[in-house]
C-alpha cells in the first residue's frame, strides 16, 4: 500500500480522476471537501462560476463567506452586484468580512446589471464579484466570462435552478440543494474543468441556533398572548 501511495505521488503517474492541473491561483473556499473537488483547490481566479439554487436562505452566501472574509482581510476588494436584498453589514462583520472593502452596486434593470458586471470585471479591481443575474443568456454570460479571464479574482453568478438545463460558458457550475435537517447544504458540481463528479458534497453551514432550539421546532406555535412572558424567560 505504501509503495502504491509513493508511486502515485510521482509526477510521471497521471490519474484520470484527478482535477485538471491548476492554471491560475485559486481562492480557497474555506471548506476542505469542496476545495478538494474544485480544480486548483478553490474558486478559480479569472473564471466565471455559476451558483444555482431554487430557494434563498439555504446557505447560498455561506459557501462563499470564508473566501470573502479572507479576501477582504487581505485588503482585496469585493463587489456585490444587483443583490436581491440588502447584504446585512452586522452579519457580514460578525463573519469576519472587512466592510470597508465591499462595494455594493444596485442595478435594477437586467441590461444595467450586465453592463455593470462587465465594467466591474474589465476594471480588474475586484478579487471577487458576486452578481445576481437571473435572466442572463448564453452570449451575455460568455461576455462576462471573457471579461473575467483577465481579472485577478473570480466572478460568481447566482442564478435560479431552472438555468441548470441551459448551456453555460462558466468554468464551474454548482447547484445547491437545501439540507435543512442535517445542517448541511448539498453542493452538486454540475460542471468543472476535469473529470465530472456525480456525488453531491455536503457542506456544513452555520446555523444561527444551538441544539436546544430544536425544541421549538417540535413544540406547538407559541400563542400570541403568552409569548411576551416566554420571550423574557428565554432571553434571560
Amino acid at each position: 500500500m505504501t509503495s502504491l501511495t509513493s508511486l502515485l505521488q510521482r509526477h510521471s503517474v497521471w490519474r484520470g480522476g484527478a482535477p485538471s492541473a491548476p492554471g491560475a491561483a485559486a481562492v480557497p473556499t474555506g471548506f476542505a471537501p469542496l476545495d478538494a473537488e474544485l480544480p486548483g483547490g478553490g474558486w478559480p481566479a479569472g473564471g466565471l462560476v455559476e451558483v444555482l439554487s431554487r430557494h434563498e436562505g439555504i446557505g447560498e452566501l455561506q459557501i462563499v463567506l470564508p473566501a470573502l472574509a479572507a479576501l477582504t482581510a487581505g485588503g482585496h476588494r469585493v463587489a456585490w452586484l444587483a443583490p436581491p436584498h440588502l447584504p446585512y453589514a452586522p452579519a457580514l462583520r460578525a463573519a469576519g468580512v472587512r466592510l470597508g472593502n465591499l462595494t455594493v452596486v444596485r442595478a435594477p434593470g437586467r441590461r444595467d446589471a450586465l453592463w455593470a458586471a462587465e465594467q466591474a470585471l474589465r476594471a480588474r479591481v475586484f478579487h471577487a464579484l458576486l452578481a445576481w443575474l437571473p435572466g442572463a443568456s448564453y452570449p451575455e454570460l460568455r461576455r462576462l466570462s471573457v471579461a473575467a479571464q483577465s481579472g485577478p479574482g473570480f466572478a460568481l453568478a447566482f442564478r435560479p435552478a431552472q438555468a441548470a438545463c441551459e448551456a453555460s460558458p462558466a468554468v464551474l457550475r454548482l447547484e445547491l440543494e437545501p439540507g435543512f435537517e442535517t445542517g448541511r447544504v448539498a453542493v452538486r458540481i454540475l460542471k468543472r474543468r476535469g473529470a465530472p463528479v456525480s456525488t453531491p458534497l455536503r457542506i456544513p453551514i452555520q446555523r444561527p441556533f444551538g441544539r436546544s432550539a430544536h425544541a421549538l421546532d417540535r413544540a406547538p406555535l407559541p400563542t400570541v398572548e403568552g409569548s411576551g412572558a416566554r420571550a423574557r424567560a428565554c432571553a434571560a
Partner: protein, 404 residues
C-alpha cells in the same frame, strides 16, 4: 561634474531633421533639456533626472529600450559636457583622450593631415600647442576641444516640442490587415507618450489615419473616459478597434494625431503602495457606474450603533467619504444571530406559513425618532429557507431577512 549629458549618434544613413525631432520629442520624457545635434545626434542634459530614474545605468537602459521601440539604433554615451558625450557616442565610448580624431567631424583633408603627422587620437591633438592647432586646423577645433573639456561655456539651444502631436510613418511594405499596422503604430504611440509626458499632459481623444494608395484614408478616432497617455493602453484600445475594421485597400502609411491636451500629473507612489490596491482604477469604475446607474446605486457598507436591525448599518457614500475609514470601529459584541440578507421592506407572513426554530429576541427601540420598533424576532423555517421573522407587538408576522 557640472552637467552630465547622454548623447547618441545615429549610425548612417542620415536620419534627417524630421526623425531627429521626433526622437527629441520622445526624449523629452527624460529631461526637459534636449538639444538637437545635427546631422545625427541628440544631447540630453540628465544630471537632474538621474535620481528619478534611479541612476545613469538604469536611465541608459530605458533610453536604449525606448529607441529600439521607436525603430532606431544608436550609440549612447555620457560625459560631463555635451560635446564630450557626443564625441564618445560617435567614437564608440572610451576615454576622451582615446577617441579617434574622426569624431570631431573635420573634413577629409584635415583628417589626412592629422594622420600624416601621426595624430590618431584626441589625446595626441591635445598634447600639441594650442596656437599651432588653431593655425593648422582652424579655431573651431580648439573651441570644440575646450567645450568638450569644460574649459569653455557650451551654450545650447534646447528643443521645444510642438504644441500638437501629428506624426506619420511610412510602412516598409503595404499591409492588407489593419492589425498588422499596429506594430508600426506602436512606435508612434510611444512617441506620443513621450510627447505627453514632457508636458505632464494626457489626451481624451486621438485619431489614427490609415493611408491607402488610391483612395481616401480610413480614419479611426479613439475617445477615452478620462485623460491618459499610456502606450500600452492605447495599443490595446486600437487593437479592439482594428479587429472590426474593414479596409478598402492595403495600408501604405499610418498617421497619428492628437490635439486638446489635458493636464495629467504623475502620481507620487505612496510608502505602502498607495490608498489600496487599484484605488485609482476602482474610483474610476465607481464614477463610471454612478454616471449610468445614479449616485445612490453604488455604495459601501458600514455599521451604525442602533438596536433596530434596519438602522444597524449604513450605506457609505464613496463620493463624500473615504471608503476605508468606515470599518475601523469594532462591533461591540453581537446581540444575537443576524441574517446575511435583510429585506428592505419586511414581507408580511401568514400564520401557518412558518415553523419557529429559535427565539425570541426582543427589540424595543427608537421611540425618540418616530420609527419605533417593538418586535419579537424568531428564527423560523419558511419552506426550505431559514428566515428571520418578527412579530409586531400589535400583531402580525413579517419576514425581515434570510440566513443565506
Amino acid at each position: 561634474m557640472k552637467d552630465q549629458a547622454l548623447a547618441r549618434g545615429h549610425a548612417p544613413p542620415d536620419p534627417g531633421r524630421e526623425a531627429l525631432e521626433a526622437v527629441a520629442a520622445w526624449a523629452c520624457r527624460f529631461t526637459p533639456r534636449v538639444s538637437l545635434e545635427p546631422p545625427q545626434g541628440i544631447a540630453l542634459e540628465v544630471e537632474g533626472s538621474l535620481r528619478f530614474f534611479s541612476g545613469a545605468d538604469s536611465l541608459r537602459k530605458r533610453i536604449a529600450e525606448g529607441l529600439e521601440t521607436l525603430g532606431f539604433t544608436a550609440g549612447i554615451a555620457s560625459g560631463p559636457t555635451a560635446q564630450a558625450a557626443l564625441w564618445r557616442a560617435s567614437g564608440g565610448g572610451g576615454a576622451l583622450e582615446d577617441l579617434p580624431v574622426s569624431v570631431t567631424g573635420l573634413d577629409e583633408e584635415a583628417l589626412a593631415l592629422l594622420a600624416g603627422l601621426g595624430l590618431r587620437t584626441l589625446g595626441d591633438v591635445l598634447r600639441l600647442p594650442r596656437e599651432g592647432v588653431a593655425r593648422r586646423w582652424g579655431k573651431d577645433l580648439v573651441d570644440a576641444l575646450d567645450r568638450a573639456l569644460g574649459r569653455a561655456p557650451e551654450p545650447r539651444e534646447f528643443f521645444a516640442p510642438p504644441a500638437r502631436f501629428a506624426q506619420k510613418l511610412e510602412l516598409p511594405a503595404q499591409v492588407s490587415e489593419a492589425p498588422s499596422a499596429l506594430f508600426a503604430l506602436r512606435r508612434l504611440l510611444a512617441q506620443l507618450e513621450g510627447f505627453l509626458a514632457a508636458r505632464q499632459a494626457g489626451v481624451r481623444a486621438f485619431r489614427v489615419l490609415l493611408v491607402h494608395p488610391d483612395c481616401a484614408p480610413t480614419e479611426v478616432s479613439v475617445e477615452l473616459a478620462s485623460a491618459a497617455r499610456g502606450e500600452a493602453h492605447f495599443t490595446r484600445l486600437l487593437f479592439e478597434r482594428f479587429q472590426r475594421l474593414e479596409l478598402p485597400q492595403p495600408i501604405e502609411a499610418v498617421l497619428l494625431a492628437a490635439e486638446s491636451l489635458e493636464p495629467l500629473a504623475e502620481k507620487t507612489a505612496g510608502l505602502f503602495g498607495g490608498p489600496g490596491e487599484g484605488g485609482e482604477e476602482w474610483l474610476r469604475l465607481v464614477e463610471r457606474l454612478q454616471a449610468r446607474l445614479g449616485g445612490e446605486a453604488v455604495h459601501g457598507l458600514g455599521l451604525h450603533e442602533d438596536h433596530r436591525p434596519e438602522c444597524a448599518f449604513c450605506r457609505v457614500d464613496f463620493r463624500t467619504k473615504d471608503s476605508r475609514g468606515a470599518d475601523t470601529r469594532e462591533q461591540g459584541g453581537s446581540p444575537g444571530p443576524r441574517p446575511l440578507w435583510l429585506l428592505e421592506a419586511p414581507r408580511p407572513l401568514c400564520e401557518g406559513e412558518f415553523a419557529l426554530l429559535a427565539g425570541p429576541e426582543r427589540i424595543e427601540s427608537g421611540w425618540w425618532d418616530g420609527k419605533e420598533a417593538r418586535r419579537d424576532y424568531f428564527i423560523a423555517r419558511t419552506g426550505e429557507s431559514l428566515a428571520w421573522i418578527y412579530r409586531e407587538r400589535q400583531g402580525g408576522w413579517f419576514v425581515h431577512g434570510f440566513f443565506a
